[in-house]
């Protein structure tokens, strides 16, 4: 998890070139089909602009965000596909009390429905707001993009990557980073010079290329440090603090009770000698030992 550094070069990674996205939403449909997710009844313009459904949910693991903006007096669209980022060091996996989330060696962050106790800490922890809850159910579970783990284990590509006609390239992380950098270098005026996901949250298995500045498109500014390190810097001290507190308090109580013991012994000594102060010291000690 957060301690063992692993090389993520060979983890499967999405390179999503938003400049090539046509907003066809084939990925959305493919995702729903493969994961057998229910359609949601939505109303047009219920969220921001043209995007539909208005937000990701227990039924929607991925969605294309629409951003309209003006360029040279012309109305333009920018699209980007929102999905689980499959972080290299996922916050959801680190906070889960039962370890229901796991970063697989292949790349996807997967969720074990049988372990989940439903505390929803993953939803608090995820910097991208990805895990969603089955609020419609009496005994709900968390739902999120699986990175099509079952498909890639069989040598296939994820459903959305297969469906996408233009924007998604899928492969090993080092190759995808190389490809992204090649594109940035080849057309420097076309691209905003950044790869979102290269270092965000310690690196993710999704890499984005954009034409517009990231914040204009609605990409969150995220720390470059892996999130689990934030809690681990406190949690790693736990055994030490536990023993220090125990040891200190034991010592304190020994000293505090010692004063009391000594006083009691002295009182006893006084009683035995009938209140007289001039009994020989060694006899008093003997008496004390007898009393013990």
């Amino acid at each position: 998890m957060s301690t063992a550094p692993v090389n993520f070069d060979k983890t499967k990674t999405f390179l999503i070139d938003t400049t090539k996205c046509t907003g066809c939403r084939g990925c959305q449909v493919a995702c729903k089909q493969w994961n057998q997710l229910k359609a949601e009844k939505t109303v047009f313009f219920s969220g921001e602009g043209y995007q539909n459904p208005p937000q990701m949910s227990e039924y929607t693991f991925t969605r294309v965000k629409f951003k309209d903006y003006q360029k040279d007096g012309q109305n333009e669209f920018a699209f980007y596909k929102e999905m689980c980022m499959h972080c290299n060091d996922p916050a959801c996996a680190s906070v889960c009390p039962v370890g229901a989330f796991k970063k697989t060696p292949e790349g996807p962050v997967v969720y074990d429905t049988k372990r989940c106790i439903g505390c929803r800490f993953c939803m608090i922890a995820c910097p991208f707001g990805i895990p969603k809850y089955e609020w419609s159910k009496a005994f709900p579970l968390v739902r999120k993009c699986t990175g099509c783990y079952s498909r890639i284990k069989e040598g296939m590509q994820p459903a959305c990557a297969t469906a996408c006609p233009t924007a998604i390239t899928y492969g090993n992380r080092d190759d995808m980073l190389k490809e992204a950098e090649r594109r940035l270098k080849k057309r420097p005026d076309h691209y905003f010079q950044a790869i979102y996901g290269k270092e965000e949250a310690g690196g993710t298995s999704i890499l984005y290329l954009t034409q517009q500045p990231l914040d204009e498109l609605g990409f969150k500014q995220i720390t470059k440090r892996p999130l689990p390190s934030y809690t681990w810097q406190a949690l790693r001290l736990v055994p030490g603090i536990f023993l220090t507190v125990g040891g200190t308090l034991s010592l304190v109580s020994w000293f505090q009770h010692r004063k009391d013991r000594i006083r009691r012994e002295e009182e006893q000594k006084k009683q035995q000698t009938g209140g007289a102060c001039c009994a020989p010291a060694d006899t008093a000690n003997d008496e004390k030992e007898d009393n013990q």
Partner: protein, 401 residues
């Protein structure tokens, strides 16, 4: 109606109306939690994907745990530092702690989506999870508190052997309680360290766990004062203002360290803008001015420290400040600008009111039927009675028989 039921009904009829009200509220809370289990979280609460945690986590867990810290703090002061005269304050604090933690467990189970799998925490350890650590500690500490609570129970029913055993374990339990409490009180702060870029900079800093621990200590002592004052006022128990004055001498020291840590963390360890959200700034100001500086100043004055009316007021302000702080961290400070605002649903509110009422109700009832206040260790008989007359007959005979 059977005879036993009639005796119980007659007993209840004799209760004060306030207790009857608490019984009704507890019953309503129990019904509301039943509704939550039948219809599920989504239908009965106002939780959603934007607010996965609401009133139940913010109050029933994050706030209730420090409010139940009285048991471990008074345990340290009275048993570890061996200030014997404080002994009369220990048992009421242990009962409060025992009830508090039992109700925290209930609150946690209510909030879980899969409460029937709660045991998984013991089966699949994840030591990187603050939630894992808190659940282990809460389970362990609830066990310790239950054993400590058995002390008056054993005394009431004259179980001599357990009584003697519990008496011997008093000090080890006090130390163990402090060890476990230090861990989970601080780890509740660690919860929110993962919320980088979510929790507002006014509260987010790496020293949050230390602040949670320090504030739990002075809150624990304050709740002992608060409770002893109420018990004196409404349950006709002796006035302990003089004993409480010992505690009020300790509180400003801990509060002083807390203020220093909080100021240091805010000045040097927080990143990003502090004054960008007027509402949050106001909440922070209320928390710090009325819940921290004001009681700190009050506790610095000897006149207030020793006056039973004023020490109660200062303690109440500390409790107010703590509740504000925990809500600021776990709820208000986590709200992003422009987000819809979370308001708890009726079911959520009824359950939380029910939990508070249950706490008051069970405290009063336990105090009514068990020796909680009249406890004086020197007067209690800790000897084991010689039921089998082994001593009289001689040991040899006893063994042969």
């Amino acid at each position: 109606m059977t005879a036993a039921a009639r005796i119980v009904m007659d007993e209840i009829k004799g209760y004060h109306n306030f207790i009857k009200l608490m019984m009704i509220l507890t019953g309503v809370g129990a019904l509301a939690s039943l509704v939550r289990f039948i219809f599920g979280l989504g239908a009965t609460t106002h939780l959603n994907d934007t607010y996965p945690w609401g009133l139940w986590i913010s109050f029933d867990v994050v706030t209730s745990v420090p409010l139940a810290a009285g048991a471990f703090t008074i345990g340290i002061v009275a048993h570890v530092f061996h200030i014997k005269k404080l002994e009369p304050l220990v048992r009421p604090a242990i009962v409060t702690g025992f009830l508090g933690y039992s109700l925290v467990c209930i609150g946690l189970l209510l909030d879980l989506g899969q409460p029937q799998r709660g045991i998984n925490v013991l089966l699949y350890w994840n030591i990187h999870s603050p939630m894992f650590e808190v659940s282990m500690c809460v389970m362990a500490y609830t066990t310790v508190l239950t054993l400590e609570f058995l002390h008056p129970v054993a005394e009431k029913f004259g179980w001599h052997l357990p009584l003697r055993l519990l008496r011997t374990l008093e000090l080890p339990f006090a130390i163990l309680a402090a060890m476990i409490s230090t861990l989970h009180q601080s780890t509740l702060g660690t919860f929110f360290l993962i919320a980088v870029d979510k929790l507002h900079n006014l509260w987010y800093n790496p020293l949050l766990p230390l602040q949670f621990w320090l504030s739990a200590i002075f809150t624990g002592l304050s709740i002992v004062i608060f409770e002893a004052s109420l018990v004196h006022k409404y349950m006709k128990q002796p006035d302990e203002a003089e004993l409480l004055a010992t505690l009020t001498k300790i509180i400003p020291w801990v509060m002083g360290v807390y203020i220093f840590v909080k100021a240091y963390a805010l000045a040097f360890l927080s990143h990003g803008p502090l004054f960008d959200r007027p509402v949050l700034l106001m909440l922070f100001a209320i928390e710090v001015v009325f819940g921290l500086f004001l009681p700190f100043g009050m506790f610095l004055m000897k006149r207030i420290r020793t006056d039973k009316q004023l020490q109660m007021r200062a303690a109440s302000l500390v409790l107010f400040g703590l509740i504000m702080n925990r809500f600021n961290v776990s709820m208000f400070g986590m709200e992003q600008a422009g987000q819809q605002i979370y308001v708890p649903s009726i079911i959520e509110s009824l359950v939380t009111i029910g939990i508070i009422s249950a706490h008051v109700l069970f405290f009063v009832l336990i105090a009514k039927y068990f020796p909680i206040f009249e406890h004086h260790p020197e007067a209690t008989d800790y000897t084991i009675p010689d039921h089998f007359h082994k001593i009289e007959k001689g040991h040899g005979e006893g063994v042969k028989a």
